[in-house]
């Protein structure tokens, strides 16, 4: 039995004439312990797909099955790391994490909550900032808090919606390693949504491109047969890596070309010339 299964999922926003079909005919199957990356252009419906899987949205038609059960609501089994951190600004780092811990372990004592919060804040190297507010932190630190909050709930599956999109390259690399470390330690299932092919190649077992919306759908999958742990510098010389990377980029470029070709509208430019001041 598949761990996560999306069957012919469609998602339409609006009704009647104003209806826009964002996702069409999405089919995806994930095994337990697998790391899947979905790569797509901005605005292709990636966040909608994430929200369908974590239960914030319901599909217009089709089914989302998690461990064989249809997804009808959010669940503590599926932890989400949002694209824009979504930390509560009036709570400190520790309080933000503690809120999640208290919800995930409602019957545990205060001491347990405190220790768990400290453990996970420590894990993302933010112990010195535990009593700071999100506003006082940099983007990378905020994203780490979001990671700690999602993981402290001990979810079986981690869903990441462009978690590192807004970060600089260095912080991004560090966080990628941290997420991989956590994922490999307990062999959780992970779904990463990203717009960075290299990130997907470095982290995932499979990469599936999302064709751009409206009517976005998943493209053919690319398996990444590279041994873990992967080394970033060696990866550049790895033949499999090069081949897969080229294939994916070629595929995405192809989509881009298609996209350009479909827009046939001609924009007539007005005849304007800069005003001469010398004359």
């Amino acid at each position: 039995m598949a761990y996560l299964e999306l069957k012919n999922v469609n998602k339409t926003y609006g009704e009647g004439k104003n209806a826009t079909e964002v996702l069409t005919d999405i089919n995806l199957t994930m095994k337990e312990g697998e790391f899947v990356a979905i790569v797509g252009f901005t605005g292709s419906g990636k966040t909608t797909l994430v929200n369908l899987i974590n239960g914030l949205l319901k599909p217009t038609s089709g089914e989302v099955l998690f461990k064989g059960e249809p997804v009808v609501d959010t669940s503590h089994e599926r932890g989400v790391i949002f694209q824009n951190y979504s930390l509560l600004p009036w709570l400190s780092v520790g309080q933000n994490v503690a809120m999640a811990v208290k919800e995930a372990f409602p019957n545990e004592k205060r001491k347990f909550v405190k220790e768990r919060v400290e453990q996970y804040v420590e894990m993302v190297n933010l112990s010195p900032a535990i009593s700071k507010r999100p506003k006082e932190l940099s983007g990378g630190m905020r994203q780490r808090v979001a990671v700690a909050r999602a993981l402290a709930m001990n979810p079986e599956m981690i869903i990441m919606d462009e978690p590192l999109g807004a970060l600089d390259a260095l912080t991004r690399g560090n966080l990628q390693d941290e997420i991989l470390k956590i994922w490999s330690k307990d062999k959780r299932t992970a779904l990463l949504i990203t717009n960075d092919v290299d990130e997907g190649l470095y982290m995932a077992d499979r990469i599936i491109p999302l064709r751009p919306g409206p009517k976005a759908t998943l493209g053919p999958e690319f398996k990444i047969d590279i041994e873990r742990p992967r080394d970033k510098t060696e990866l550049n010389d790895n033949l499999v890596y090069k081949r897969t990377r080229n294939a994916i980029i070629e595929y995405l470029m192809g989509i881009g070309e298609e996209r350009k070709a479909t827009s046939k509208e001609v924009y007539e430019l007005p005849e304007l010339a800069p005003k001469s001041f010398v004359a």
Binding site: L56, T74, V80, L88, P89, A100, E103, M153
Partner: protein, 368 residues
């Protein structure tokens, strides 16, 4: 040729500007003895105050002259030259009986302020003496189960201020207790919002006077049998009802417009409905709620004066009204004193609310 000259000039200007900027930067490094900032911070406001008092003085002088001329002309027309001369002499001598009654000058207002303070000292001394005198008797009366004798003399100006503050706080608390819970409920449910919107829109612009009359109709009947202080009850309820709308609207808006990200967090963490309200929705709408409360307090203070004036409830409003009815020689300047006191207290109340607002708000950017 010409062009190159202008270019050089602009370059020179740029250099000069850069040099200036450098100099001003140097100056900023020693802020304590910087004359410019000192002048900006203290001298300019001081000068503006002087200018205001000067203009006020000249205006009062001009009005005084107009009024004095009129008095003399009237005496001339009614009683002849002798009476007119007597009137002019009387006005010039500064005798109280014939002073023109018009806008008081700053000096007169300052004198009245001192009179009021002195009056307060006399009254409080009187009160203290009364308390000492009746202390033994009161103890006896209380022991016998009778009500103690209280001071029933005229309240001083300072007493009036405290009565007004008491009324405004009672009104503010009432507004808070009504508006915040209802605002939250309305904000949470779109159905409720739609069904109450017309009510809010209709009652929001109703004048304080009408609220007072409405409250009067109800409270008068309800307090018929009791001997409670109905004037106070009427005025604080009216103040609360007039002032609560800003808080109500702001709370409803804050609660209904919580960032969608926070709602998603609440959903993903699977918070219960009550927890969602208390842990996510309320904290995120606190800044707006406090903005509303700040407006409510300033409206309450503004409306209070008018309501006290009409409800015959003791306080600054009735002080102003009594002075106006009184028509004594220094009544006008006492009214102006009250005006300043009202303004200053209103300003202080607003500052207090702003401080509280900044304390609770998580984005720390509330400004004046």
């Amino acid at each position: 040729m010409k062009q190159s000259v202008t270019v050089n000039k602009t370059q020179d200007l740029k250099l000069a500007n850069a040099a200036k900027a450098g100099l001003s930067k140097l100056k900023i490094k020693t802020p304590k003895f910087d004359l410019k900032t000192l002048a900006k911070k203290f001298a300019v406001p001081f000068i503006s105050i002087l200018l205001f008092i000067g203009l006020w003085h000249m205006g009062a002088r001009a009005l005084y002259n107009v009024e004095a001329d009129y008095k003399i002309q009237k005496a001339l027309a009614d009683q002849g030259q002798v009476a007119a001369d007597a009137m002019a002499a009387c006005i010039a001598s500064g005798d109280i009986s014939c002073q023109p009654n018009t806008l008081p000058s700053p000096v007169q207002v300052w004198e009245s302020f001192n009179t009021l303070i002195a009056d307060h000292k006399v009254i409080s001394a009187d009160k203290l003496a009364f308390k000492e005198k009746t202390a033994a008797l009161n103890e006896k009366r209380v022991a016998e189960g009778k009500a103690p004798i209280t001071y029933t003399g005229r309240p001083s100006f300072v007493d009036q201020i405290f009565t007004s503050l008491k009324t405004v706080f009672a009104g503010f608390v009432l507004a808070f207790l009504i508006a915040v819970p209802i605002g939250i409920l309305i904000g949470l449910s779109e159905t409720l919002r739609n069904s109450f919107n017309w009510l809010i829109q209709i009652f929001k612009p109703v004048s304080p006077v009408v609220w007072l009359l409405l409250v009067f109709m109800i409270v008068k009947t309800m307090t018929k049998d009791s001997n409670s202080d109905s004037a106070f009850i009427i005025s604080f309820i009216s103040v609360g009802l007039c002032a609560m709308w800003a808080t109500l609207v702001n709370t409803a808006m804050g609660v209904s417009s919580v960032d969608k990200d926070y709602i998603n967090v609440a959903k993903v963490l699977k918070l219960g409905p009550l927890q969602k309200v208390f842990k996510v929705i309320l904290p995120s709408s606190l800044p707006l709620i406090f903005t509303g409360l700040r407006i409510t307090l300033s409206v309450a203070w503004m409306v209070l004066i008018a309501i006290e004036l009409l409800a015959q409830s003791p306080g600054l409003g009735s002080f102003v009204w009594e002075e106006f009815q009184n028509g004594a020689n220094d009544s006008n300047s006492k009214i102006i004193v009250a005006m300043f006191i009202i303004g200053i207290i209103g300003f202080l109340l607003d500052r207090i609310m702003l401080t509280i607002q900044n304390m609770v708000s998580f984005n720390k950017n509330a400004t004046t």
